[in-house]
């Protein structure tokens, strides 16, 4: 029997036993699956909790109609196991024996209690690595503490300095922080695969969601080190600070964001078309460009320039003049945008319960062995029998697993 999917993709010889649920873990294993790995997703009889989170197609809560679950679980195979039953745990051990990676995000201690802790996996399959994802790590005084996207990002990400000085700190959109953690986990999965190959045996990787943020890019690592170097802290500041231009400006039909790195005022001048107000030499003296009085004066004129133009018109001028700028698109603007359509960013796939679904496709382009959408997110338990049969379970053993699953149904 082949090991893996054999699709010709980069990871088509890799088998991942995926015990993760919700967002961060499944996002990491989705990347593995989208690039060819055989990701066997173990779901409890009630299904991954993400099946209960929206957006739902037609706003109808339904375990097979969550857009979130759909996106996170493309190309995976769903196997339902009741891990409180002997049959379920036995099947799990057989699957672990064939996997290259075992990934889990149970509360610390639960995998061990289920007989699938690192010591168990290592004994069953010395060549496999195990990646354990938890909120605060597998040990330490906060080991059993809970997190949601807000609490994670507030504690470990650079949320403290986001928002207005006089108001409360404010987070990123949706569950962006959990997706960031998921990306960090995906790199660890590949690192673990390479570790398997380098050493001929597996290892255990302990990932704390908090540490993926404390140690991660987007300001936090730098604010932390800046405090060590200089004693300075990062003020919570509305907008992006001030400059010529700097931050978010209203325009005729919305908003545009500029960053003035302070280096190329000539490009800004080119962008606005050399009007008299912008050509004054005083604006080109580096020290003056930090002077609030000059900045305000300059921005009063720039604001008028923005308000006379649409966000797309402004961005076009900025692109021409090589100025760093981004229009604030709504999701609709982005969805309709021709650039992304023409590049093939969007993709469609037919799902048994949802019909044709459109979703963002490749996260990146590999010229060889790259991304494919081979199948939509699985129905709950869609592949239970198929996968267990491949793993060598007998008809009687499979029947026992299915019976245990039924019994466990609420």
């Amino acid at each position: 029997m082949t090991h893996g999917t054999g699709t010709g993709q980069a990871l088509d010889d890799v088998v991942v036993l995926d015990l993760t649920h919700h967002i961060a873990g499944p996002y990491a294993t989705k990347l593995m699956a989208d690039f060819g790995a055989d990701v066997i997703k173990i779901e409890r009889p009630g299904g991954d909790i993400a099946r209960r989170f929206g957006p739902f197609q037609g706003d109808e809560p339904h375990p097979e109609k969550s857009g979130l679950f759909f996106f996170l679980n493309t190309n995976k195979r769903s196997v339902v196991l009741d891990l409180h039953s002997d049959a379920g745990r036995g099947a799990l051990r057989q699957l672990a024996a064939r996997a290259d990676l075992v990934v889990e995000n149970f509360r610390p201690g639960v995998a061990e209690a289920l007989g699938i802790g690192w010591a168990d996996v290592h004994a069953l399959n010395p060549k496999a690595s195990m990646i354990s994802v938890s909120n605060f790590g597998q040990d330490g005084p906060y080991r059993d503490y809970r997190l949601t996207d807000l609490v994670l990002y507030g504690f470990a990400g650079e949320m403290y300095s986001m928002g207005a000085t006089e108001r409360e700190p404010v987070k990123m959109a949706g569950t962006a922080a959990l997706f960031e953690s998921g990306a960090a986990i995906s790199a660890a999965l590949m690192g673990a695969l390479w570790s398997n190959r380098a050493n001929g045996e597996g290892q255990h990787v302990d990932i704390a969601l908090t540490e993926t943020h404390f140690g991660g890019v987007d300001r936090r690592h730098a604010t932390a080190i800046a405090s060590q170097f200089s004693g300075r802290k990062t003020l919570r500041l509305a907008g992006a600070g001030s400059g010529m231009p700097q931050g978010i400006y209203p325009c005729a039909d919305g908003y545009v964001d500029f960053t003035n790195a302070g280096l190329r005022p000539d490009r800004i001048l080119d962008m606005v078309g050399f009007p008299e107000w912008a050509t004054d030499e005083k604006y080109f003296i580096p020290e003056n460009r930090l002077n609030p009085e000059y900045i305000d004066e300059w921005n009063a004129n720039f604001l008028v320039w923005c308000l006379e133009r649409t966000k797309r018109e402004i961005w076009e001028e900025a692109r021409r003049a090589k100025v760093m700028c981004g229009p604030l698109f709504t999701v609709e603007d982005m969805y309709e945008d021709e650039h992304f359509r023409e590049r093939g960013f969007w993709t469609k796939v037919t799902h048994p319960a949802m019909g044709e679904v459109e979703l963002p496709g490749r996260p990146l382009m590999m010229a060889e062995g790259g991304w494919q959408l081979r199948q939509p997110a699985p129905l709950l338990g869609q592949h239970t029998e198929e996968v267990l049969r491949e793993a060598g379970l007998s008809d009687a053993e499979i029947a026992a697993v299915v019976a245990a699953n039924k019994e466990a149904q609420p």
Binding site: T148, D149, A173, R197, H221, T234, P363
Partner: protein
């Protein structure tokens, strides 16, 4: 055990954050990451905004950009800019001017010995130097060339200049985040797309190395950063594709609609202006947790209000509940709120100002902060790695790399240039520990 990427050599032509984060993750896994740097060209926002900023300028910049040791630029400010040092541990640096043929010849010899070339410059920068996939492949047939353009290398936006903050605006993030009752112009500039593209760039590079092992083939990888960042807004995007609903900002509320969920003031040693304000986030995810919350804070009458017993009721009366919670938290230490509520099974934690992470009990217990000594900056605590490989722990084997620190290693040991050529390159200004005096 051997480190996962031992023996892999990466040429790091990266700038700012998205590229360097990818190569950092691979350096932490044992890859040898070598950064060619040009003494005549300062890469903005990488070793700082300017090579030789004034004291006025570093103090005007946000701390994470301008917080240099002792708040002075010092002799070689490019060696200890906070945004740089956080991403350049475990890497090597050598200098070469790639605008001159002899410089490109040095790069050619380095590529011969490399597995991966990684870049995330503005579109056109590499082409101008003559660095293309074709050129690299001619030198090393199975090279993996990773490029991270903001909007991809094709299409009308391919030439747009962008940092993370701009491409996220285009993908909808800036409209989707921030206070729900304020206009988006108050949104602070953030760069979350750099995290995603950086970590997935490491993922993709390692996947390409895996593919090369099976097929003998290298390849070109293109990570269009805007497209890549879109995953973070999955709920909003899927709501549009499924339901044609255009979502907007919801502040600190839960996108899944569980109440209460917010950031509340805690007892504070200072004010927001002196960055001594403390806040605590609290998220109650179920009716059961709501009852536990009431019990944990001593069963005040308002917590037992039957109107608040269900999530629908808590949503309807969210403002009233938030006011009650804030009145309670205001009298509490943020960490006390965390421990009290977490012991009752409720997600809560201080909103930490960054300097406080070095004294957090959990991080100290896990040995997360690392001590490094660095020329010009002295001995300091640094943030640890993003994951803990128990068999091959991430070591901080090289402190944030100085400009040109590995000139001898790269030229003499790795490329084995003759003494004569070394001296000629040095005389030509290729080999240096300082930027050319003419560089701003």
């Amino acid at each position: 055990m051997k480190k996962p990427l031992e023996g892999v050599r990466i040429v790091d032509l990266c700038v700012v954050w998205a590229g360097p984060f990818a190569t950092l993750l691979m350096a932490d896994l044992g890859a040898e990451v070598i950064k060619p740097e040009n003494p005549f060209v300062f890469q903005p926002m990488t070793r700082g905004a300017l090579a030789r900023p004034s004291t006025l300028m570093i103090n005007a910049a946000a701390a994470w950009g301008g917080g240099l040791p002792g708040n002075v630029p010092g002799e070689r400010p490019w060696n200890y800019n906070p945004t740089f040092v956080s991403l350049y541990r475990n890497k090597k640096s050598f200098t070469v001017d790639l605008r001159r043929p002899e410089g490109m010849d040095v790069l050619r010899r380095l590529v011969e010995k490399a597995d991966v070339v990684y870049e995330n410059n503005a579109t056109g920068t590499m082409e101008k130097l003559g660095i293309t996939y074709g050129w690299l492949k001619e030198i090393k047939d199975d090279i993996i060339y990773v490029r991270v353009p903001a909007y991809g290398n094709t299409g009308p936006y391919s030439t747009a200049r962008a940092l993370g903050v701009h491409l996220e605006a285009v993908m909808g993030h800036t409209m989707l985040r921030g206070y729900e009752d304020a206009d988006p112009s108050v949104n602070t500039a953030i760069y979350s797309g750099d995290y995603l593209a950086g970590a997935q760039g490491a993922f993709a590079t390692m996947a390409a190395l895996w593919h090369r092992e099976k097929t003998g083939k290298g390849q070109l990888i293109e990570i269009g950063q805007a497209e890549n960042a879109s995953a973070m807004f999955t709920q909003a995007i899927m709501d549009y594709t499924l339901n044609r609903r255009v979502q907007g900002a919801i502040g600190n509320r839960d996108i899944f609609g569980r109440y209460p969920c917010g950031v509340y003031p805690a007892k504070s040693p200072g004010t927001a202006v002196d960055m001594g304000d403390h806040w605590v986030s609290i998220h109650v995810e179920s009716d059961e947790q709501w009852r536990a919350f009431g019990a944990a804070i001593g069963n005040p009458d308002w917590a037992a209000d039957p109107r608040f017993a269900t999530n629908a009721g808590r949503e309807e009366h969210a403002k009233e509940i938030d006011a009650h919670i804030a009145a309670w938290t205001r009298e509490q230490e943020d960490y006390d709120v965390m421990h009290l509520l977490q012991r009752a099974g409720i997600a809560a934690a201080p909103v930490l100002e960054a300097s406080r992470l070095f004294s957090d009990e959990q991080l100290l217990a896990r040995g997360f902060p690392r001590t490094q000594t660095h020329e010009g900056a002295g001995t300091n605590q640094y943030v640890g790695p993003v994951w803990n490989f128990e068999g091959t722990p991430v070591e901080f084997r090289q402190p944030p790399v100085l400009f040109g620190e590995h000139n001898d290693y790269v030229y003499r040991e790795l490329l084995q240039v003759s003494d004569e050529e070394y001296e000629a390159l040095k005389a030509g200004g290729h080999i240096a520990m300082d930027y050319d005096p003419a560089v701003l």
